[in-house]
Symmetry: C2
Subunit: 377 residues, 2 copies
């Protein structure tokens, strides 16, 4: 029971209250060489490489390997992994109406229970877990629809393999490419809440499955995992590019919030949205949802610039994430879990980085409860 927090300042009259920053806003909690988020200039770098370049020239397995090892191997191959028998029994036991994030969290926890994960965490563990979870989510999605899970096809790369196990068909190149690009831009983003959770769990010398289980539970919260359904709803309401201009002007006049524009960090164009748009534009046969999204974006940015020339509002990654996920045939309630699959690379890379220079993460707290008192008699 060596869990004691550091001493809270005490004096004769009781605890002293010390200044603090709610939500740790502006408090630096550590160092990382993995991701660099530059909101001012609209840059996102993984180990120094621009996100746009990584999407243009790499694949998710190559990016994951870069995050884990620091090495850039553009044709690095990583297929999805088989689901251990015990874990498949666990997935079959879950109720069909379980939320996909709850089911994925349970799958990763059971995966960790089904094997011996020694300290320290390794690249092999990171690779195995990142390759397991897409198979698990595909099985979860099929089982709840009464379908049988599909075994991995080791000839397919991770993202195409996930779609194959989800649908039973090998995806066309454009579909796989669109989702792979989404996985790359979702792979890493500094010390967000789920990544910080994974690092705290690792800091006690717990294992990589415990860390990712905690991270999935953190991302489940709508303040983190987001509400991509709102962008899908918006595109559904717009319906077609022809109606975009009228719909957008009407929405702005009504004071309605446009989903997918503006970002808390990125004052310039969100580099992840830019990378996804570039992929969409380069496709010969793009999925309808993606086509609609690029057309609607053009209209929205034109109308916004006309209405508020002083307040530039740029597209954020959610605007493209939703149509990409919809376009590859994912139902909206699978979006947060699919985002979690993409973030596995970053979470596990942070686990490795934390373990390499480990120090227990344990902040202080101000006690603001009643002073010492006797129990009522």
């Amino acid at each position: 029971m060596t869990d004691a927090p550091r001493d809270t300042t005490a004096n004769e009259t009781g605890p002293a209250s010390r200044p603090y920053s709610p939500g740790l806003e502006g408090v630096v909690a550590g160092e990382t060489a993995l991701g660099y988020v530059d909101g001012e200039r609209g840059r996102l770098l993984y180990r120094g490489y621009r996100i746009g370049d990584l999407v243009a020239h790499g694949s998710y397995p190559a990016v994951a390997n870069l995050l884990w090892t620091g090495d850039w191997i553009p044709d690095h191959h990583l297929p999805t992994a088989a689901i251990p028998r015990a874990v498949m029994t666990v997935l079959r036991a879950l109720p069909p109406d379980a939320k996909p994030m709850d089911a994925l969290r349970t799958a990763v926890s059971a995966w960790g229970a089904a094997q011996s994960l020694a300290w320290p965490p390794t690249v092999e563990q990171a690779r195995a877990l990142t390759a397991f979870s897409p198979s698990a989510l595909a099985a979860i999605a099929r089982l709840r629809s009464g379908k049988e899970p599909i075994d991995p096809d080791p000839s397919l790369d991770l993202v195409a393999g996930f779609l194959y196990q989800l649908t039973g068909s090998v995806p066309d190149a454009a579909t796989a490419r669109a989702l792979d690009a989404y996985f790359i831009v979702g792979a890493e983003h500094g010390f967000n809440a789920s990544t910080f959770t994974a690092r705290i769990i690792t800091s006690t010398r717990s294992d990589i499955a415990s860390a990712v289980t905690g991270a999935i539970g953190t991302m489940k919260g709508p303040l983190h995992g987001g509400a991509p359904l709102e962008v899908v709803d918006q595109l559904s309401r717009v319906g077609s590019a022809d109606h975009a201009e009228a719909w957008v002007r009407d929405a702005i006049d009504r004071g309605e919030r446009l989903m997918g524009f503006g970002h808390r960090v990125y004052r310039a164009y969100d580099p992840r949205a830019a990378a996804l748009r570039t992929v969409a534009e380069g496709m010969e046969h793009k999925p309808d949802w993606l086509k609609l999204a690029t057309e609607v974006e053009d209209v929205v940015l034109r109308v916004l610039a006309e209405k508020h020339p002083d307040r530039p509002l740029k597209t954020n990654v959610e605007f493209y994430a939703a149509p990409v996920l919809m376009g590859v045939g994912l139902s909206p309630d699978l979006f947060p879990a699919t985002f979690s699959l993409a973030r596995h690379a970053g979470w596990t890379a942070h686990v490795l980085e934390q373990a390499a220079t480990n120090r227990l993460i344990r902040p202080d707290v101000n006690y603001v409860g009643p002073p010492e008192r006797d129990l009522p008699t």
Copy 2:
């Protein structure tokens, strides 16, 4: 994908490095009215009440209810809860050699997946989860030994019920009392790593099962959950009170570390150890392990005071935790999971407190990786 961390300071030449405290040491991360840890004066208060008074006059259900609600109801009753059918199937699927912490983490995750846990978390959810986990751990322990799980007995209180479901026999009063006291002193201890994890997960508006699943994974790490086996080993080597003095003098002469003495936070006597010793002393028929522990403690403190009068080294809670757990028949590999059961009250109380005044917890990070660069060609 609304997970952006706050902007990391950027300038023309790259990221600036800002000062930070490794492990958030000395950084105040929030406020709590639940527990107050006063290392200087050797005090631990739950909502203002001294831990010794709570152990003397209360029970674990009363203390849990105090943490959740602020109300002191000394005869508050809380039996263990039945295991949902889906969760029992999950537990049966886990390999018999799964670590108990991995199995308990998976059980809590599956429990969350098997029901609809709405935001915000409630006292009822806290109560239900705290009552579920002892049944789950008892079932895990029985299943791995090839025994059938035992249904809860609603007439028993939580700690006696846990022992009944573990062993198949209603425990005698002294055994139940000793473990209940351990549960009370383990229930809450400020912002340690697992509690902080539970609060971060809650801060995204995720659910109470996600928070406790993450907390269990955090406590699994030996830097947090500890190594109580070492105290058990030490008592085994001492063997009997007659040999204690010779063994202790010999150990000190050899420069061996005495387990269960000294504490990072408590400079005075650890108030949790004091409370557990008082319970042990008040027992008419104390378990042999507990009797040995009190006798060995007396010898160690006398010899230490004689050898190092200038360096007072006091007993810590681990010295009593281990013999209590051993004394009630728990095998050492169940100790961390049993500690987790006790901490459920604190974790879930922190979840409620965090949700009541919620703000996303998301610190900053210094980027220390390579500057912006092109991909190798």
